[in-house]
Amino acid sequence: MKLKDKSLGEDIFIIFNTIFMCFIVFITFYPFYYVIIASFNEPLDLLKGPIYLLPRKFSLINYRYILQDRGILQAALITVSRTVIGSLSSVLFTAAFAYGISKKWLLGRQFFIMMALITMYVSGGLIPTYLVIAHFLKLRGNFLVFILPNLFNAFNAFIMSSFFRKDISSEIEESAKIDGANDLLIFFRIVLPLSKPILATMILFNGVWHWNSWFDALLYGGRKLETLSLYLVRAIQSASATGQAGSFISTLGLNTYSVRLATMVIITFPIVIIYPFLQRYFVKGLMIGALKG
């Protein structure tokens, strides 16, 4: 398929292209690498000057501090809870709707589809949404504020709906119906187990979103419901307010800056591990998104 012409220009191109690709890989990974080595460096030593490739003075004190700090541990607990509960409930809730609109005979199908489609392009905006959640539903300071507003996602509904329509054989459903099963039973006992791959990727995708999000925690959570991301946001803002890399937490030689680095490692680690598994789904999802418009 490729040109097998061994001219000089060809060779130069291949060399430069390879160097360029290596550069891409380097700039992609260096931030993670840097944060890891910096988080393992002794905090006071780090303030003396930059490190580039290896820790100058190895130390575990940042991680030891995190494991003792109640605030961070509670934030971690809330983050894990909202990620697990939030992504599972959202995918199940959205899948139920998606299954419904995948049936051509559904009463009011066009209306429901239209209703969901509109939510993809029109929204009330930040303030009306805030007022509904905080003033009308009074969810501020309630853990449910992480779950309820994120239960449904129209984009995911359309992806799952097209999956249910195309990839699940209607014959199994028909025969289950003849055996007296209702739609609810069919959905939970037959359709969901058959859709495990797409559900799993959806849950992972949703989980990454929950794991990273902090703005809702800032708006509705307060100190009581601080997540890891929000903890980082506050650490960054205190850094920008003082104009310095960090202020000192105690006489231990720790500072918010170095603790922040360790938190950044912890918050990114799970994502680096799971994101390669998301690949298959999102290529598909992007295509559907692009085609549907």
Binding site: K2, T28, L106, G125, L131, I271, V272
Partner: protein, 318 residues
């Protein structure tokens, strides 16, 4: 007779609904969700034309009883110099992001396609979209680290004798735009290239074989085969990008996290302005009006991008 027919029809629908009650149990909760979390806020846009007071009893009471103020909020918006500054900044960053962030993924996809080693190709691609999944909090946190006075960037510049004193990048307005645009590029180029890579992979390989036989070199093949065949994808994504110019949520996170008092003039964008006015200062109606302006501008952008692309390329979204 007519009456009877209507009631019969009603009965039929009711019967159909009853027959479908189990699937309705699956569908209707999401419908209720949409009414509360999507359509109720849409109704709340009315607040832009009112003066909502949160201390007027319950939310609904306040919503109904608050006085109408017509377009007063909008008049105030366009006479507020901080809003106009935020609007200018939003357009500035969005256009910069588009000019630099849009072509790069195409170039990257084309170059990646020329990598012969399948394993290396796969590795680079997988690496390139990792940043998409990483939160802005990490990215900005990293930026604070490397651009701080004793960070990596100042360290390198001092070592190479380019500067004699460390530069405080993040409190110097002129360094903010490049930092914003480059971090945006870093985070999104791999993700944005996925669709081009998919489009290039789906090109019929016999086209390249035929071109090779005809003596077309590598660049000729890219120029005359690959690019024309991925042109529809490029156009669709360009429309999407133009339409999303001022509704870029990532830009909000970036600017919110980067902002400090020294760079306020360059860091304020419409979304951070809305947040400050509405959430921080509690001027709900005013901030709703700002949000409405932003949505209208987005719709106008989408429609005009679509119109222009139809005129120029005879291809559009709708």
């Amino acid at each position: 007779m007519d009456q009877k027919f209507v009631s019969k029809r009603k009965n039929l629908i009711w019967k159909k609904f009853w027959d479908q009650r189990y699937i309705m149990i699956l569908v209707l909760p999401a419908v209720l969700w949409m009414l509360i979390f999507s359509y109720l806020p849409m109704l709340g846009i009315i607040l832009a034309f009112k003066e909502y007071n949160p201390f007027m009893g319950s939310f609904l009471e306040g919503f109904i009883k608050s006085p109408w103020v017509g377009i007063n909020n909008f008049i105030e918006i366009f006479t507020d110099k901080y809003f106009l500054q935020a609007l200018r900044n939003t357009i500035y960053y969005s256009v910069l992001n588009l000019i630099i962030g849009f072509p790069f993924p195409i170039v990257f996809a084309l170059l990646l396609n020329e990598v012969a080693n399948v394993w290396f190709k796969k590795f680079v691609q997988t690496a390139s979209y990792l940043p998409y999944f990483i939160s802005w909090v990490f990215v900005i946190g990293f930026i604070y680290d490397i651009f701080s006075d004793n960070g990596v960037v100042n360290g390198l510049l001092l070592k190479l004798n380019i500067i004699d004193m460390p530069i405080s990048f993040l409190v110097t307005p002129k360094f903010i735009p490049p930092i914003v645009v480059l971090s945006n590029l870093w985070k999104l180029f791999g993700w944005n290239s996925i669709i081009y890579i998919a489009a290039i992979t789906s090109i019929d390989p016999t086209l390249f074989e035929a071109a090779t036989v005809d003596g077309a070199k590598r660049f000729a093949q890219i120029w005359y085969i690959t690019l024309p065949l991925i042109k529809p994808t490029i156009i669709i994504l360009l429309i999407f990008n133009i339409a999303g110019l001022i509704t870029n949520y990532g830009l909000f996170e970036q600017m919110y996290l980067l902002s400090n008092s020294a760079i306020q003039d360059v860091a304020e964008i419409i979304d951070t302005y809305t947040y400050k006015m509405g959430i921080v200062l509690g001027r709900y109606s005013y901030a709703t009006a700002v949000g409405l302006f932003r949505s209208l501008a987005a719709i106008i952008l989408l429609a005009s991008a679509n119109f222009i692309s139809k005129k120029l390329f005879e291809e559009g979204l709708f």
